[in-house]
Symmetry: C2
Subunit: 277 residues, 2 copies
DNA sequence: CGTCGGATTGAAGATACTCAACATGAGTGG
DNA sequence: CCACTCATGTTGAGTATCTTCAATCCGACG
């Protein structure tokens, strides 16, 4: 099985043979599995292993006094749960398993070495955490400025790309273990309203969601509905270096952003359908 | 004038004389001023200086196609605008000046040295970025799970603490240059509704907002209204080491979280009124 | 076949939005 | 010094989106 973390980080830089090896060695550490619904890490907990999601889906979650629950991030294979560990006293939120999930438990020390030995790896890890922050910011935009339909559509667009990066898509389908209630927790809506908006997206022929699997039927249309701009995922560097990123043609970077890049962009290919804006 | 960055980072660790000096030297770099409303850094821009907010208030902002605007973070003195610089190709959002604002332009190279030479400083910077992420997550909770009143109240609680940390409070007052429209951009509400909720908070005797200055009249009550839990700001370490943090008595850490700390907590004092939960 | 989690549907109601008018107050120029 | 302007704050009325609370349906699984 491929290492999703390696795949993700290679969106940012190409690694040397040795670096790739070092990353792949991470998978030799003990794996712990969690049942759907289990808490992987609890708020207040002081962890001394870094949890790397290997299979399944997890979520950063906060539970409020009134019983409501809010997801702040979804963690797919290749995502780290708790880089905070090195610095902070304890977690300020929970990590919960949304589907049956397995995590590689990387000893903090090993992680620390990894972060200090190779500049390339260090930078790649930095990139990963900055991108995570960018996703958090985008979620704030979702919640603050997009209506229910846009919000769900935007989430699906984001997930399609992120899953594609770690090679878990087939065409425009990807695993989708979230119940409508969990989807509500992620988007700040009620389950009832999630249901209605989903039906709307279905009848519009945009998505096909059934049996824990999501298929984006019309990526471009969904992207338009969501007002989705992939720039915040920062998949650009690799795109420039390696046009074959994920096998599908398509210009990730909207024309208006081309100025962002220093070099020529003629061959930028990326992972979200053909874009024409 | 004191260095707000130093003050902030000292919430996390105590620095050596030399380290403090090094931080203070940052203020010798050129300062650039921005008028209220100006864009400090634009989306797509590739910056080669790190902007450190010195005076005033700035915001991370995204403008959507429909003309709406969403703030994702408020940057007060001591906050860095663009650590991304080292890694990412370009900014994925704007930084705008909410009031007249001055920034210290720290050459990327200098920053990089700072980040690699002293372990203590490196860790403190890490802490800062992790805390920033924690704030982003809390904003998602604000937008997703709190109603308008809670959301505003929560923001005010957060700002009180953050301003106190950098020494810009007098009692429970702090600078508040945001217009109601900008407050709406920050909270994902309409200006009209912001206005009404503000009036509500005023008549409840919780806040006194006038002339670009905010006074929290009843911190405990406001905290209760907001369901505010300061844990996510991660001001704990210092609290344990230095009971005098910011001069006011009060237990920052609710009893339910005391398990988080390894050591004894009898003398934890912090910056948000007396807490009894 | 019955149970249980999850999905779906209906109807009523609340929070927050839209649009539009009006008030206030600081600054500006005549 | 007053008239004007402009940005900000305030108020009202009608409305939309989304919520709440149920009830019902469906499919997987023992």
């Amino acid at each position: 099985v491929a290492n999703p973390l390696t795949m993700k980080l290679e969106q940012f830089t190409a690694f040397s043979q040795e670096e790739r090896q070092r990353l792949d060695q991470l998978l030799t550490y003990p794996i712990r599995t969690f049942k759907r619904g289990e808490t992987i890490i609890r708020e207040g907990q002081k962890v001394d292993n870094v949890h790397l999601v290997h299979t399944g889906l997890a979520a950063r979650s906060k539970s409020l006094a009134d019983g409501s629950r809010q997801f702040m991030a979804l963690l797919i294979p290749g995502d780290l749960c708790d880089v905070e560990v090195f610095i902070l006293e304890a977690m300020d939120h929970d990590i919960v398993a949304v589907s049956d999930t397995s995590c590689v438990l990387i000893p903090a020390k090993v992680m620390e070495e990894l972060l200090t030995q190779s500049t390339s790896l260090t930078k790649a890890m930095w990139w990963s955490t900055m991108t995570d922050s960018a996703i958090l910011r985008e979620w704030i935009v979702d919640h603050g400025s997009r209506d229910a339909t846009e919000r769900l559509a935007h989430l699906f667009c984001e997930m399609l790309i992120r899953y594609r990066v770690v090679g878990e898509t087939t065409d425009d389908s990807f695993p989708f273990p979230l119940t409508q209630e969990e989807l509500a927790d992620a988007t700040g809506m009620t389950p009832v309203h999630v249901n209605r908006v989903l039906q709307h997206l279905r009848t519009e022929g945009l998505i096909d969601l059934k049996g824990r699997s999501m298929t984006i039927l019309d990526p471009d249309a969904l992207k338009r509905v969501a007002k989705f701009e992939a720039v915040y995922l920062h998949l650009i560097r690799t795109a420039r270096r390696d046009p074959e990123v994920s096998g599908r043609a398509g210009d990730l970077v909207p024309a208006s952003h081309k100025g962002m890049l220093s070099g020529a962009l003629d061959k930028v290919k990326a992972s979200f359908g053909n874009s024409q804006d």
